[in-house]
Each structure stands twice: as structure tokens, then as C-alpha cells.
């Protein structure tokens, strides 16, 4: 049976509902927060075998879950006969694919994307119009003369230093996923909402263009910059051989950096994808002022950008009433504090990007001075090798008694047993963990990434008046994190003051109802709110209640 047309089609890349984590739980929350709307979810994945079973039960208002894959699953190696057969097929294709009457508009769009990457948004709209025609088949890209012509032009003008053979394969690797996406059947919806730029953003922009339905774009992290960081360390891009002697002499001390043209091409491609989504989106939503600045620097029009911070329910997350009060603490109605040991929590997936190693090292350092009871709360199966490394480090440091890996827990049960939450991530958008901790009056020690600083110290003068709700540390600096833990352990009043500041900060700026109201207004402005227009008040109260 055909599923009904959705009010909103959410397009995500590799996350909801197959991966748990910040963005996935945010998407789940958005869907739950708008029961009056019908959502379709389109998950752009790498290949079918890359993801397991869904980690979330889809809410009743999800009318369809669709998947598009950028690559096929790996095929078994071909035997001699099959290989010969494949060669024949390729020869046949080469003879037949070059028969089109008109040049491909997709190829023309790709050409401009690669060669005029820094052009304005109007030019990107025109590129998008070309890509939306989807008039290039995969065979034409792989075996056609015109695609090869484009490759040679890119080689001459954009990547002349790259070995041609390498460029050939990278050219394919860049464009095959893109063509697969362009060929994906459109999911009909009243509006499209991409939860990142990149491949999901491109597909959303193309569908929005084809169907003439509006597009909203929400960026938690800045996709293009995250990919650039990934590309800088990617070992599948072959760089020019090192000519330096690698010693300690003058050539080590001075620098004329060699920028790999292939990395540059990938990076410029992802920036191009971001610009395409920025050009097509009618509204762009970001979580923080920091990210807004980055989006503008990357080509997003400032007038389109709204800041809608994440939010949590304050009412449901009151501090634990059973907390005992220290002898020296007056009964002034503020959050109660427990006696030592300080209960420290790391809440999140045990994956390298969260830099749990720094957290463990910080706890080890702090344990030389104060008593701590440390818990690592979060799933460990996503990167078993990293989880093993973390456990090994704890064992080798002899801290197995003090640092426990407790696995995932429901949010409601986490924060009541914690005095401080620590986040040592290399990269974050606007972590929900911090807001959840604040809602329970728990101060936070977090690394200076994403919106963490403005969440802890305040984003504007009024926010800063509330006072700091924790400590900000440099990334990968365990001694700073340890110093913060020691200080919080020694100074119970400071801990309480910071916890209170966190609660006030959530109350003022990070309420879930405010976030949902912003998105409700956004969806309404894009024509998705048919249900609300007919029963506005009752639906609203249902959401907020």
C-alpha cells in the first residue's frame, strides 16, 4: 500500500534511526514533539551492510522510512569468465553511451561546481538546476567520452599536480554517490528538512527544486568542516612522497606546505555541496552563534540564518529531592549536595571523537588529589577497539576501582547520581548532555568545542550575568580537566552555584518547548502545518503538555 504524503520529509545522513547519538535523538525528539505532523524520514547511507537494526522505534507519526545508498555493497571477486564477460559489457557500453543528442546538463553543472566553486549563490542555484535534471546515467559517467572530457578539464585546471590515475579514481569516487542520489525516487512531502548539508543536503535541495517545495536546513555541526578534518587525516588519499629527510634540521623547522590537490578537490566538493544546500534553503537553522559565523564564512546568506538552540524539559528533570545536604550547607532551597567522593560522569558514546582517553587521564590525575567516583555512561559497541583501549588504559593506570564503565542508561536515571558531568570531545555541536545535566542542576566541565563555551559562560551579556555553569578546558588537556574536577571537589559552594546557574540558563534559553515552538513556526511558514491550521490550539497544548 502506498504511504500517505508526508508533511515534512526529514533527510539525514547516516544517523537516525540507525545510529544513536546527539543528532539522532534530536531528530527523534523533533518527530515526537510534532505529533500533529506526518513525517517521512530519508536516510542517506554508504551501503546496505553499513548499518544494523534501527536504534529507535519510529513514532506513530512517521509515515515512511526510506533509504538511499551512495555505494553498492562490496561484490565478491569475479572469476576469469565473469571478468571477461564484464570486459565485454564495458566495451559494449563504451560504444553505446555516447549517443545522446544534447550535452548533459548534469555534467555541465559538475563542471561549474569543480571549476567555479567560489561563485555566488545565484550561480549555485543554476548548478542545482542542472543537477536536478538527472540527465546523466551512471554508465555515461563511468564510460562516456563527455565525462572523461570533464575529467581532463578538471585535471588541467583544478588538480594539475595530481597524478592522473589517482585523479581518475577519485573523480569516480566523488561522482558515483552523487549520481546515485540524483537518481533516487523523490519522496513526496509538503516540505523538506535536511539535517545537515553534504549528501543529505544535496538530495533535499534537488528534491525541493524538482518539486518546488520549500527546504529548511538545520546544521548541528558544520558538515563541510567536519569532512575537511576527516580528509586531512584520510590515508586513502595518496599524497606526494615526502622528500624531506624527516630529521631535526632546518627543513623541519621551516615550512612550505604542500597541499594535496586531491584533498583540496574533495574538500572543495563538500564545500560546494554545502553552498548548493544554502542556496536552495529558504531557512537555515543553526544551534549557536559560533556556528552561525562559520556558516556565513562558508557562504550562507546571513538573512536566512536563525539560531534555534537545543532544548530540554526543565520540569521533568528537577534535582533529586533525596539528595542529602552537607553539614555546612544552609537550607536555602538551592540544590542539595552530597559529601565526597565527587561523583563524576562521562555521558556519551564511547568513540574516539568523544576523547574518552583524555577524560580517563584527567580522572587519574585528579585522583591523586581528591576522591572521585567515576562513571562512563554510554554505549560501547560502536567502536569496540576504542572501548577496549579505554578499558585497558583504566586497567593499566590501576583505576578499575574508581572508574566504572556502566553502559547506556535512560537519561532520567543518569544525572540524579552525578555531581559533575565531563565532556572532553574533540567535536560537538550543542551537546544535549550539557543541557540535561543543567536541568538537574549538575555543573559541567567541557572542552572548548562547538557551542560549549557559550553554553557554560553565556552567549551574550544577559546570559553571562547568570554566571558560569561549569568550566571550559582546552581540548586534549587532561590537566585542565583534572584541575577543574579538583576545584569542584574542594569547593562545594562553587559546585552548587554553578549547578544553579545551569538550571537558570536552561530556564532562560534552552527549553524544549521553545525549540519546538520555533520549529513549529518554521514548518508552518513552509506550508507543512495543515493540521495546525485546522486545530491549532489543541495541538499546541498537546505538544507542550
Amino acid at each position: 500500500m502506498k504511504s500517505p504524503e508526508a508533511d515534512v520529509c526529514l533527510l539525514v545522513e547516516g544517523t537516525y534511526p540507525f545510529v544513536s547519538g546527539g543528532v539522532s535523538s534530536w531528530v527523534h525528539d523533533i518527530i515526537l514533539g510534532h505529533p500533529e505532523l506526518r513525517f517521512a524520514v530519508l536516510n542517506v547511507g554508504s551501503h546496505p551492510a553499513a548499518y544494523g537494526e534501527p536504534r529507535y522505534r519510529l513514532p506513530d507519526n512517521v509515515v515512511g522510512l526510506h533509504r538511499v545508498f551512495c555505494q553498492e555493497s562490496a561484490r565478491p571477486p569475479l572469476d576469469g569468465a565473469a571478468r571477461a564477460d564484464l570486459r565485454e559489457q564495458i566495451r559494449g557500453l563504451r560504444a553505446t553511451v555516447d549517443t545522446r543528442a544534447q550535452p548533459s546538463r548534469v555534467l555541465a553543472g559538475l563542471r561549474r561546481l569543480h571549476l567555479d566553486g567560489n561563485s555566488d549563490l545565484e550561480a549555485h542555484r543554476s548548478i542545482l538546476a542542472d543537477l536536478a535534471t538527472n540527465d546523466l546515467t551512471l554508465d555515461e559517467l563511468l564510460y562516456g567520452r563527455a565525462a572523461f572530457d570533464l575529467l581532463t578539464v578538471v585535471s588541467d585546471q583544478a588538480a594539475s599536480e595530481a597524478p592522473f590515475l589517482d585523479l581518475f579514481w577519485h573523480f569516480r569516487a566523488i561522482h558515483v554517490p552523487l549520481l546515485r542520489l540524483l537518481a533516487a525516487p523523490i519522496v513526496p512531502a509538503a516540505c523538506y528538512h535536511a539535517i545537515a548539508t553534504g549528501y543529505a543536503g544535496l538530495l533535499a535541495a534537488v528534491w525541493s527544486r524538482r518539486s518546488d517545495r520549500p527546504l529548511a536546513l538545520t546544521e548541528h555541526g558544520i558538515y563541510a568542516r567536519e569532512r575537511e578534518m576527516e580528509l586531512a587525516r584520510a590515508d586513502w588519499i595518496r599524497d606526494a612522497a615526502e622528500t624531506d629527510d624527516g630529521g631535526f634540521g632546518l627543513r623541519t623547522a621551516t615550512w612550505a606546505p604542500h597541499i594535496s590537490p586531491l584533498r583540496k578537490m574533495w574538500s572543495s566538493f563538500f564545500r560546494g555541496l554545502s553552498r548548493l544546500a544554502y542556496a536552495q534553503a529558504s531557512r537555515i537553522v543553526t544551534l549557536s552563534e559560533v556556528n552561525r559565523g562559520k556558516q556565513i564564512a562558508d557562504g550562507a546568506p546571513p538573512a536566512k540564518i536563525d539560531i534555534v538552540p537545543n532544548g530540554v524539559d526543565l520540569s521533568d528533570d528537577a534535582p533529586s529531592p533525596g539528595a542529602s545536604r552537607g553539614d555546612d550547607e544552609p537550607d536555602d532551597g538551592l540544590i542539595a549536595l552530597r559529601p565526597p567522593p565527587l561523583r563524576v560522569g562521562f555521558v556519551g558514546r564511547v568513540v574516539p571523537i568523544k576523547d574518552l582517553i583524555t577524560f580517563i587521564r584527567a580522572c587519574d590525575l585528579a585522583l591523586h588529589s581528591v576522591e572521585l567516583e567515576v562513571r562512563v555512561i554510554g554505549p560501547m559497541e560502536e567502536d569496540p577497539a576504542y572501548a577496549t583501549r579505554c578499558r585497558d588504559l583504566v586497567a593499566r593506570l590501576g583505576r578499575a576501582q574508581q572508574i566504572a564503565f556502566v553502559g547506556p542508561m535512560p537519561p532520567a536515571k543518569i544525572y540524579g547520581d552525578l555531581d559533575v558531568v565531563v565532556l572532553t570531545s574533540f567535536s560537538e555541536g550543542q551537546p544535549l548532555v550539557i543541557l540535561e545535566a543543567y536541568a538537574r542542576g549538575v555543573p559541567v566541565v567541557a572542552s572548548d568545542v562547538g557551542a560549549c563555551r557559550e553554553m557554560i559562560e553565556g552567549r551574550d551579556a544577559a546570559d553571562q550575568e547568570i554566571g558560569p555553569s561549569g568550566f571550559v578546558t582546552r581540548v586534549a588537556t587532561p590537566k585542565e580537566t583534572a584541575a577543574a574536577l579538583v576545584r569542584l571537589s574542594h569547593d562545594a559552594r562553587l559546585r552548587r552555584r554553578m549547578g544553579e546557574a545551569g538550571r537558570r540558563r536552561v530556564a532562560a534559553y534552552y527549553q524544549r518547548r521553545d525549540m519546538l515552538a520555533s520549529y513549529r513556526a518554521l514548518y508552518a511558514s513552509m506550508g507543512a502545518h495543515r493540521a495546525l491550521t485546522t486545530s491549532g490550539t489543541s495541538t499546541s497544548s498537546a505538544v507542550e503538555g
Binding site: D98, R100, A101, Q102, P103, R145, A146, F148, D149, T152, V153, D156, Q157, R225, E228, M229, A232, R233, D239, E242, G246, F248, T252, A253, T254, W255, A256, P257, H258, I259, S260, R263, K264, S267, P352, D355, I357, R361, D364, L365, A385, Y386, R389, D392, L393, R396, L397, F426, S427, D448, V449, R474, V475, A476, T477, K479, E480, A483
Partner: protein, 393 residues
């Protein structure tokens, strides 16, 4: 050069890059060379004797002469022909002739034949400045573009030596948070790589039957990690202990490599501030008397068994160890606990001293723990460095 129209849909032409040689080819030198070679071959096959072989060889060399003297050939063609003829008896000359007379039709490039060649962008002032000045790594990290910065961080990661790690740790305090994150990720990547390799060695050695040299490789890996500042500070004593065990294992496995093992052991002991142990490790292999080097009386090895490069390394390490025994309070556990085993970035050191010397200014790191300690030197954080004029009397 010939050209033909390209496919109509592409609107492009294909340029045949034809390697056309001016003038026609004279066949006489090639035929002469082939005939001489053929004669030599017949002689060699018909008379299987040493004089016949010598004559055949002489004829084969004579076959080079007609080509070498061929006045109609360009020097490169002569060279090619002689190489072919010498390398491939009998067939070489015809093959060379074919190669020289071939007019290529290789499709090397495709472009619109009517279009102007793409304009080559002249280097801008920024590129020229970089080419001329070759920014110091620290400054390039702070002042370069994001692409340059990433290229530097990637190369530092690939190197993974002590200086690279020290630079990356220094970059953690950079005012640019993206640089700090990239440096942190790079250090994490190197640490993870070290730990994975070390775990693999441990597994192989624990299971037994590890390939020869595994113990030495494991010990050297641990030494490298300590030296580069990648090993977990709190675990340095236990890692050093483990490495010492692997060095002993390696020596028992192959006593002939005692010099290489002593070098590794000495590096390790110096890295963990035990120069006395480094001295002992070196002196087990060599003994120094005045200027000359003689074999140790206690061991079965002598300096004759040690290669010159190894001996130079041992003596250099010995000098370093002798200095270190006088320079560092190495007995103190607290020094070990706070030790960052990397030399200060040489350029940082050089530039700081140059700045003082040339400008009459003192550079002073602001306190607050924002700098990075390398060895006994506190390198100020880039964000927290300021210059203070010297007060003159």
C-alpha cells in the same frame, strides 16, 4: 600535428599528438647493423668455440657503428638505436628503426582545438612570500590558510618524531580552536597507532613463536613513544620496564646485535632520565680509554664486531649520558612524573633567543599553565605570549 573533429555532442576536438620526425628515415644503418648481428649469431651457432664467441661479440659491438655514425639520425635517435641494438642482438636494430619511424597517434589530451590554452595564473604575492620565506612551522600553523594548516598537521602526523609531537602539543594552545582540535586529533591518531602496534607486539610475544626481531622492534617502539612524548605519562615507568624486558629478550635471542640493542637501551634510559643506566648499557658493549676505543674485557664482543655507524652512535649517546648524569636530578620521582620527553622545538628556541638578541626585548610567558613544558623549557602558549620591554637602568 593532425586533428580530427570530436564527437558532436561534446563539441570538442581530439588532438593527435604526433611524434613526427623531420625528413625521411634512411634504412641503411639499421639494415647494416642487423646484418652484422645476424652474421655474429650464425658464427656463434655454427662454431661453438671460444674464438667464435669472441668474434661474435666483436661483431655485435661492430653492429653499433653504422647506427652511431648514421648522419641522418638525431643524436637521441642514435642513442636509442645503439641501446636497442646492444641490448637485443639481431632484432634490436629493426625494433629501433620501427620505433624511430613510428608517427604517434596517441591521444594525449583533449581540448577544444580552437580554444586558447588555459591561462597560467601568475603566483600572487602570498605565494611568492611563502616561497621566499618558507614560514617557520609555528607561524605557518598560526598564520597559514586552513589548507596549509591541515597540510602541516598531516605531515607532522606522518613524521611522528619528538619535534613533531612537541609542535602539535604546542598547537593545542593556539588561539584558533580549529587548529587546536586538529592538533589534538593528530596526537590522538599517533597515540592510537602506537598503542595498536604495541598491543600487537605484546600479543605476538606472549603467544610465543613471534618472528625474530619482534622483541627488539617492540622495545624500540616503546622507546620511540617515550622519546616522542606519545606514551601516557603515568605509564612511562611501567612501559620503560617492559621495554627493558624486551631488550633483554632480544639480546638473548640474537647476541650478535648487542650494539644495536645497546643503542636502543641507551635511548630508552636517556628518555626516562636514567642516564646512569644508559651509561651502563653502553659500557657493557664498549669501553672508553682516553681517546681510543678498545673492546670490553667482560664481554665476548669486541669493537671489531661493531659497525662504524653503530660505534659513532654509541659514543654520541655515551657523551649525552655523561652530560645528563651531571645535569639532571634524575633520581627524583617528581621530575619523572612531570616529564615531557621531547626537545623544545628548535625553531621556537632559536626564534626566542633571536628575538631577545635582535630587538632588545624579552619574551615572557604569562603564567596560568597555558604553555607547554618540553624538557626543562617552558614554551609559552601562542595565545599567551607577549613581549615586555627591558627596563634599562
Amino acid at each position: 600535428m593532425s586533428s580530427r573533429p570530436g564527437p558532436p555532442h561534446a563539441g570538442l576536438g581530439t588532438i593527435d599528438v604526433a611524434a613526427v620526425r623531420p625528413g625521411s628515415l634512411t634504412y641503411l644503418p639499421w639494415v647494416s647493423a642487423a646484418l652484422i648481428d645476424l652474421t655474429a649469431a650464425v658464427l656463434l651457432i655454427g662454431h661453438r668455440s671460444t674464438p667464435a664467441a669472441v668474434t661474435a661479440a666483436a661483431l655485435h659491438l661492430c653492429a653499433l657503428v653504422p647506427i652511431g655514425l648514421g648522419s641522418s639520425l638525431a643524436s637521441s635517435e642514435r642513442l636509442l638505436g645503439m641501446a636497442f641494438t646492444f641490448a637485443i642482438p639481431v632484432l634490436g636494430a629493426p625494433l629501433a628503426a620501427l620505433s624511430v619511424r613510428t608517427v604517434g597517434h596517441g591521444e594525449l589530451v583533449e581540448a577544444d582545438p580552437t580554444a586558447l590554452p588555459p591561462a597560467v595564473e601568475a603566483p600572487g604575492s602570498e605565494e611568492l612570500r611563502q616561497l621566499g620565506e618558507a614560514l617557520p612551522t609555528c607561524e605557518a600553523l598560526l598564520a597559514g590558510t586552513s589548507d596549509e594548516r591541515r597540510a602541516i598537521v598531516a605531515t607532522l602526523t606522518l613524521r611522528g618524531d619528538a619535534v613533531s609531537v612537541a609542535l602539535l602539543r604546542w598547537a593545542l594552545g593556539a588561539p584558533n580552536p580549529e587548529l587546536a582540535v586538529e592538533a589534538a586529533l593528530a596526537i590522538e591518531e599517533m597515540t592510537a597507532s602506537f598503542e595498536a602496534r604495541m598491543a600487537e607486539y605484546r600479543k605476538q610475544l606472549a603467544e610465543g613463536g613471534a618472528p625474530a626481531g619482534t622483541a627488539l622492534a617492540a622495545a624500540e617502539l616503546a622507546s620511540d613513544a617515550i622519546e616522542a612524548g606519545l606514551a601516557e605519562t603515568a605509564l612511562i615507568p611501567s612501559l620503560a620496564h617492559e621495554a627493558r624486558g624486551y631488550f633483554s629478550h632480544a639480546l638473548a635471542e640474537d647476541p650478535t646485535r648487542s650494539a644495536a640493542i645497546a643503542i636502543g637501551r641507551a635511548r630508552l634510559e636517556l628518555a626516562v632520565l636514567h642516564p646512569d643506566a644508559a651509561l651502563a648499557a653502553i659500557d657493557e658493549v664498549i669501553a672508553v680509554e682516553g681517546e681510543g676505543v678498545v673492546s670490553t674485557a667482560a664481554g665476548s664482543l669486541s669493537t671489531e664486531g661493531i659497525e662504524m655507524t653503530e660505534m659513532e652512535m654509541l659514543l654520541a649517546l655515551r657523551d649525552e649520558a655523561v652530560l645528563a648524569t651531571h645535569a639532571l636530578p634524575w633520581e627524583s620521582a617528581s621530575v619523572l612524573a612531570s616529564y615531557h620527553p621531547a626537545a623544545p622545538p628548535p625553531l621556537v628556541r632559536r626564534r626566542l633567543s633571536a628575538a631577545r638578541r635582535l630587538s632588545g626585548l624579552h619574551t615572557r610567558g604569562v603564567t596560568g599553565g597555558a604553555g607547554v613544558t618540553v624538557g626543562v623549557v617552558q614554551v609559552p602558549s601562542p595565545s599567551n605570549t607577549r613581549e615586555v620591554p627591558v627596563e634599562k637602568p
